[in-house]
């Protein structure tokens, strides 16, 4: 019996079942806002996401969107900062805000039984926040300190610089904060933004976990009838991006043991016919632990603790980026290897074995990503922002699984030409020659 055990071959793999996702139920509140319901009541907890079309692209001054969202919990017409904190903490709830380029999302996680106490609080933050001057000062001082710490990290510095490089300075998508911006904000900026963008128009809500009729009626009274339509601006006042002819940038940080590297470009979004193929291409390159970049830069050469590549989606654009921190003395060599891996994708067909592996891996990722009500809520949000539903994922997976090596070489040829890629290094160049052009 001992000998019958075959330890050298992978046991038979099961067949991939198709992805089964039910679209969430959609309700419309009195003020016209849509509410999506993902009711899986295994555990008596509920997550409430309220997503506003109020991102950093909508602000007239840097940091406004972010500061407004953070100050929601610092005072409303009936509750001050410490009362709000007390209320959330006493019920063991978690309240998060998350500001992206295009949206602000308020998220509440709580035991379902506490929703009658907490939804009114969230409703007040949404309609009746007061932005006390004193709280604003404390907040800005803390954030400024935090920023000064972060900017010392090559990784953080690189993410800001790269954003600016790819989308252009002071564009809607390319704007990044600097230390002085923390001194420029005032209370009036916040009130203006709050009044204009914290409105039901273009907002939506996702309820996930345990969601019964009483939860729905709470949502109607606190996010629906009580919350009036406003009069919001349709668009940002800035251009989304500009195109910079300079493709390479080096920001020196003397004494760095590691250099942060970014290589990438603006990229098409979820609605584009090439999107899913590019996602597959990206996974092969740097989208999972066994990716080509990881195998090369980490597992073969030991230049880095980790390297990855990813695609970020914005409403009117997006970008693709390779990101890593490497031993400073190998900065030049790491850049060369990255170039080499990109060229390989353009010039050589991906082998069947590798392609099969990556497709299986992506299939597993899809299953993992839809595991449980809260994960479903997150996945839903990622497509609803683009006017899509769960059906997008089903089609996306189907497209990825039917993409072949010829499609991939075409996609690489179209999107990964060396001349189209931006390159950024923050840190030290090591032995190599400092060169601001490739």
């Amino acid at each position: 019996m001992f000998n019958m055990l075959n330890r050298t071959e992978i046991p038979n793999l099961g067949k991939a079942a198709p992805l089964e996702l039910r679209e969430p139920e959609c309700l419309t509140l009195a003020n016209g806002m849509e509410v999506y319901v993902i009711d899986i009541d295994e555990v008596a907890v509920t997550r409430v996401d309220l997503v506003l079309r109020a991102g950093s692209v909508h602000q007239d001054k840097k940091l406004v969107a972010d500061t407004v969202s953070s100050l929601l919990r610092e005072g409303t017409k009936t509750l001050n900062s410490s009362q709000l904190a007390e209320k959330l903490d006493y019920h063991g709830a978690f309240f998060d805000v998350n500001v992206t380029k295009d949206t602000t999302a308020l998220t509440l996680y709580t035991l379902t039984k506490h929703l009658p106490d907490l939804l009114p609080v969230m409703g007040e933050m949404l309609r009746d926040a007061v932005f006390p001057e004193e709280e604003l000062n404390i907040h800005l001082e803390r954030r400024r300190q935090e920023f000064l710490v972060n900017i010392e990290k090559v990784r953080y510095k690189a993410s800001l610089e790269f954003n600016q490089l790819v989308f252009g300075k002071n564009t809607a998508y390319g704007q990044v904060p600097e230390a002085l911006d923390f001194d420029r904000l005032n209370r009036a900026d916040l009130l203006d933004f709050y009044k204009e963008y914290y409105v039901p128009e273009k907002s939506y809500c996702i309820l996930s976990g345990t969601v019964d009729e009483s939860v729905k009626s709470l949502v109607e009274s606190h996010f629906g009838s009580g919350w009036q339509q406003g009069n919001r601006m349709e668009q940002t006042r800035l251009n989304y991006s500009t195109v910079d002819p300079l493709k390479a940038q080096f920001v020196e940080k003397k004494g760095s043991m590691q250099s942060a590297i970014r290589v990438g470009r603006q990229m098409v979004g979820k609605l584009h016919p090439d999107y899913n193929r590019f996602i597959l291409l990206n996974t092969i390159l740097g989208g999972y632990f066994g990716s080509r970049l990881m195998s090369n830069l980490r597992e073969d050469k030991g230049f880095t603790y980790g390297v990855s590549s990813f695609v970020a989606n914005y409403r009117h654009s997006g970008y693709f980026s390779i990101a890593t921190e490497v031993n400073a003395e190998h900065t030049r060599a790491a850049l060369d290897e990255i170039d080499k891996e990109i060229r390989r994708l353009r010039e050589n067909r991906v082998g069947d074995e590798e392609l099969g592996l990556v497709k299986n891996y992506i299939y597993g990722t899809f299953l993992r990503n839809f595991d449980g009500p809260f994960a479903l809520a997150e996945r839903f949000r990622a497509v609803r922002d683009f006017g899509l539903g769960f059906d997008f994922y089903r089609k996306s997976l189907e497209e990825i699984l039917t993409t072949n090596a010829t499609d991939l070489i075409e996609t690489a040829d179209k999107y990964l030409q060396a001349d189209d890629l931006y390159q950024l290094v923050v840190g030290e160049m090591g032995e190599g020659v400092v060169n601001s052009n490739k």
């Binding site: 900062s81 709830a93 035991l111 990722t365």
Partner: protein, 414 residues
């Protein structure tokens, strides 16, 4: 309530199984009871380096990750002072692949020189990225040897210094493996749409043939009672002064652990907590402040850390924190405030039961602490703590003569 079954193979491997009908994924968690406290003082960082080597190929499988990815799985691992944890999730119909992979690397590693060389480099980069090339990154490299003089907790899991990792040799690797990576030193936990019968068959088939170890359990030099206050000041190119205060506290399995955990929550869990409301919002001495317990298997640390607002001096900062701690030792915590932190713990415990991966991790963790059933009864340990106990424990712990203070001073740039 997380229901589970438990059985032990003849070779000593403990197996826990939890059935969850809601997901197409199964989680597998494997704990080896070995951490950085088991290292030789001149060869620190080894347990963690070893964790990396576990991915560098085993007896019959050249690469761990490749077949796992092929089966749609994903995995990771972590090491701390007390144990090393390997976890993965995989579509349930491919679960046998996970058994095949995990059992082969428990049977024997490939021990290739190339893997050792590369992973030494990778870990050195990890060391730099997270501890050296990072503002405040070396805090625990400084604080631990300040607080511990004898016990192996005096070094960090990443290691005392890069040199120890650079010098790790193949003989060390083999000896470490022989001693610790044995079935009777491991706990396997599985959560997913699987039956105990299925898992038992798979466990016997794949892990059953692996021989048990011949090891004796390690004993650790206990840390002598601290005799006087210790202070260390360092200067670093960071934007802001920071302070770290540490006291020794009882092990994770001691009943007093729950008292101290609640004290740390009263002090700093959430925006309504005492340190945040008093020292950040009202007195505006700190921009950021935290209190937490390390929860180690041997005597751990109670740590308060804070970043100082410009203008706050080191004595002011220390006194302000000490005053809040002394208050805990003098006045009884109000019933409401105690209830608040208990509620938060209860809600955390409930949230942790949503994903299969968390459930598998937690079952293994509590089994390592002594009994997986504690995952379900843990909340009771917190519920029964009284205001009086909190006051008494605070009075015991926060004395100045047993305090360790690290002051991390910002060096002004030229």
């Amino acid at each position: 309530m997380v229901k589970y079954d438990k059985f032990i193979l003849k070779n000593g491997l403990t197996v826990l199984v939890h059935y969850d009908r809601n997901t197409p994924m199964t989680a597998m968690n494997l704990i080896y009871k070995v951490g950085s406290r088991d290292e030789h003082p001149d060869k620190t960082g080894f347990a963690h380096l070893f964790e990396h080597l576990m991915f560098g190929g085993s007896l019959n499988i050249p690469k761990f990750d490749e077949p796992l990815q092929k089966a749609g799985g994903e995995n990771n691992a972590f090491t701390n002072s007390d144990f090393t944890d390997y976890y993965l999730t995989i579509p349930t119909n491919n679960l046998e692949t996970a058994f095949w992979l995990e059992s082969d690397r428990m049977l024997s590693l490939a021990f290739t020189q190339k893997s050792l060389e590369v992973q030494r480099q990778v870990v050195i980069e990890e060391f730099k990225q997270n501890y050296l090339n990072q503002p405040y990154g070396d805090v625990y490299l400084l604080l631990k040897p300040l607080a511990y003089k004898k016990h192996p907790y005096r070094w960090n899991t990443i290691g005392k210094e890069v040199g120890h990792i650079r010098n790790a040799g193949m003989a060390d690797v083999k000896a470490f493996y022989e001693k610790y990576y044995r079935p009777d030193n491991a706990i396997l936990s599985i959560a997913g749409k699987v039956t105990t019968k299925q898992i038992e068959a798979l466990a016997v088939k794949w892990f059953g043939p692996i021989p048990a170890g011949k090891q004796q359990p390690n004993t650790y030099t206990s840390e002598p009672e601290q005799a006087g206050e210790r202070k260390l000041t360092v200067e670093r190119p960071v934007p802001q002064n920071a302070i770290y205060l540490a006291w020794h506290m009882p092990p994770r399995t001691d009943r007093r652990f729950y008292h101290y955990d609640l004290i740390s929550d009263i002090l700093s869990n959430g925006n309504s907590s005492r340190l945040y409301q008093t020292l950040v919002k009202k007195e505006r001495l700190f921009s950021d402040i935290n209190a937490f317990v390390t929860g180690d298997l041997d005597n751990g640390l109670f740590i308060v850390s804070g970043k100082l607002i410009n203008g706050t001096t080191s004595p002011e900062a220390t006194d302000a924190i000490q005053k809040q701690l002394d208050l805990m030792a003098k006045e009884m915590v109000q019933e409401d405030e105690l209830q608040k932190v208990k509620n938060k713990i209860e809600s955390n415990l409930i949230f942790s039961k949503i994903s299969v991966l968390n459930k598998a991790l937690n079952l293994g963790y509590y089994e390592m602490l002594g009994d997986a059933a504690r995952l379900n009864s843990e909340i009771e340990n917190y519920r029964k703590v009284s205001s009086r106990q909190i006051r008494e424990e605070a009075a015991q712990l926060f004395t100045q003569k047993k305090r360790n203070t690290l002051f991390y001073r910002a060096k002004k740039n030229n």
